[in-house]
């Protein structure tokens, strides 16, 4: 018999009597009076920055000036300017030099500051991780109170990959001292469109 059959057989023999799944009553989970403020407070406590903007003008200008100054940026947001489709074909060696990544997120979560990003919003799976500085853009109306609501809004298996990102990369592996910028982005700024 193969390992698979052996394992499945042993499990079937040893597993206990069927226990029911609980009903997850989302209505009983935390709500915030002002989910944007909560989102901002939490994100700033974990090293992120949050800016409320009325439209994309500021960001468009930032992108233009980045490019004019010869900064290596990858923009994946159509409404912001030219999209760097070529990022799909860049190697990690090349992407390692990306200064800034502009990425659109689907949902923001007030309780933990996380933003959901689908693979299609990154162009290349590496972009939000490998860039030195991450710029995320979400709409205020897409901020939910907690993670249960977030999973209701997204479909995790819709694409090949998706991620919740909460702030910049960090570590406390040396004597529990928090250091921002372990392997991933050194900073994460989340622009929330009102």
């Amino acid at each position: 018999m193969s390992a698979r059959e052996n394992i499945l057989k042993a499990i079937a023999m040893n597993q206990p009597e069927l226990a029911e799944l609980p009903v997850i009553d989302i209505a009983s989970t935390i709500r915030y009076e002002d989910s944007y403020t909560q989102f901002k407070t939490v994100l700033e406590s974990i090293g992120g920055k949050v800016e409320l903007i009325s439209d994309l003008t500021v960001l468009k200008e930032q992108l233009i000036s980045d490019r004019l100054n010869g900064k290596f940026v990858v923009n994946t947001i159509e409404t912001l300017g030219d999209v760097d489709e070529k990022a799909a074909f860049l190697s990690a060696f090349e992407l390692e030099k990306v200064e800034k990544g502009y990425v659109k997120g689907t949902v923001g979560v007030a309780e933990n500051g996380a933003v959901w990003i689908y693979e299609s919003q990154m162009i290349n799976r590496l972009v939000p991780f490998i860039c030195q500085h991450l710029i995320l853009v979400i709409e205020k109306k897409n901020i939910v109170d907690n993670l249960h609501q977030a999973y209701e809004k997204i479909d995790v298996s819709k694409e090949g990959f998706g991620v919740f990102i909460a702030g910049p990369s960090k570590t406390a592996d040396i004597e529990q001292s928090l250091v921002i910028g372990a392997h991933g982005a050194r900073s994460a700024t989340i622009y929330v469109i009102a």
Binding site: A3, I7, L8, A10, I11, A12, M13, N14, Q15, P16, L18, A19, E20, L21, P22, I24, T29, I30, I46, S91, A92, F93, E96, V109, E111, N112, G113, A114, N124, L126, F129, I130, N146, L147, H148, Y151, V156, S157, E159, G160, F161, G162, F164, I165, A166, P168, S169, K170, T171, A172, D173, I174, E175, Q176, S177, V179, G181, A182, H183, G184
Partner: protein, 455 residues
Amino acid sequence: MAVKHADLAEKFIADEPRTNWHDETLWFVREKRDKAAHGLPEWEQLREWGSQIKNNTLSNLSNYLKEFEEKATANGIKVHWASDAQEHNEIVHKIIQKHGIQKIVKSKSMLTEECQLNEFLQHRGIEVVDTDLGERIVQFRKEPPSHIVLPAIHLKKEDVSATFHEHLQTEKGNNDPQYLTEAARQHLRNKFVESQLAITGVNFAIAETGGFVVCTNEGNADMGAHTAPVHIACMGFEKLIPKAAHLSVFLRLLARSATGQPITTYSSHFNKPRSNQEMHLVIVDNGRSKQLGREDFRNSLKCIRCAACFNTCPVYRRSGGHSYHTAVAGPIGSILNPNLDMKANADLPFASTLCGSCTNVCPVKINIHEQLWKWRQVIVAEGYVATSKKISMLGMSFVFSSPKIYRLMGKTARGIMHVFPFIINNKLNTWYKQREMPEAPKDSFRDWYLKNRKN
């Protein structure tokens, strides 16, 4: 038994200021956990949901695993099954050989520690670079991780500085964590961009979707997995959960219980390989199906590896992870490891005060301290305790079950303690170590009571 927790712990506590520092550092993490947990009014409800979801998973595991395999395969993931550590290591080795791969990066996976994958590959001339900062530090030092979430928690920044000076040529004596982390970042980014194969662990695998979730704060799992043309994810079969919606429960519990963060920086949901990428998933048993059949201990398979039980444990905090001489230390390790090798790990269930704090903080409500107590009984019944303990237990059982002998022994002992205290107060009596023996009363309580009850 080659090594024992008590002996290793004795070495650890020889340095008292360092022991105190270790104790306080972990207690600080425990306090952060409390703050995060108390921030959610529904925390206890969440633990109950987490526990019930895992109960359901274990009770229907064979079906969920088949469902998961089917969905994952349809997603383009190659699913492998390994009965034990050896088979797991061979599967990984075969994939490496097939591609003739040299450059391998690995993010944190306690399963590969359990299977001793790095050593297995090293014997075959293959070098694996651990990319979690803490794991890289201990790898340089040729030490195992001492904690499943904080692998280098036993080290001080001076130790890390000396290690990095030797291996990464950092400035001698520069102990700044920021500077040292930056050096590791540069070093490991070079490793990431040239990696040909990435090995990751799995935090949660979802039966309903065939996908899996990997959580890190550093981003090292993603840097490797999204770069390398081949990705191998390794998981014990108990990592399964039924539905994607259940992720909300577990991701809310995991980081809060582990470090007091509301969520890890990255919670990556892998469903399909990218184009031209090969994605493998190895599902490992290695004693788990046997543990599932042990009614008293099967709950240990609900564990989500948050390490809250480590951080709260008065014994772990004061004895350090290496004293447990196993890949998974702490209270949860002490109920998992006797299943893997009862003889070698017979000491672990005794490395506890049975205070129950581990059970109180466990996010999936594993009755850890009760299982520790039950393992003690199994281990004694199977004859895996030291002869000295066996004899003293028999002696105690004899004395305590006969009131007359008990009274006689009590009287004799009190007499000896008054007249010849050195017979008790000496190095041969382990209770005398680091303690003064109490002064013996003149009478026993029984004598006193018989004399005074009429008043």
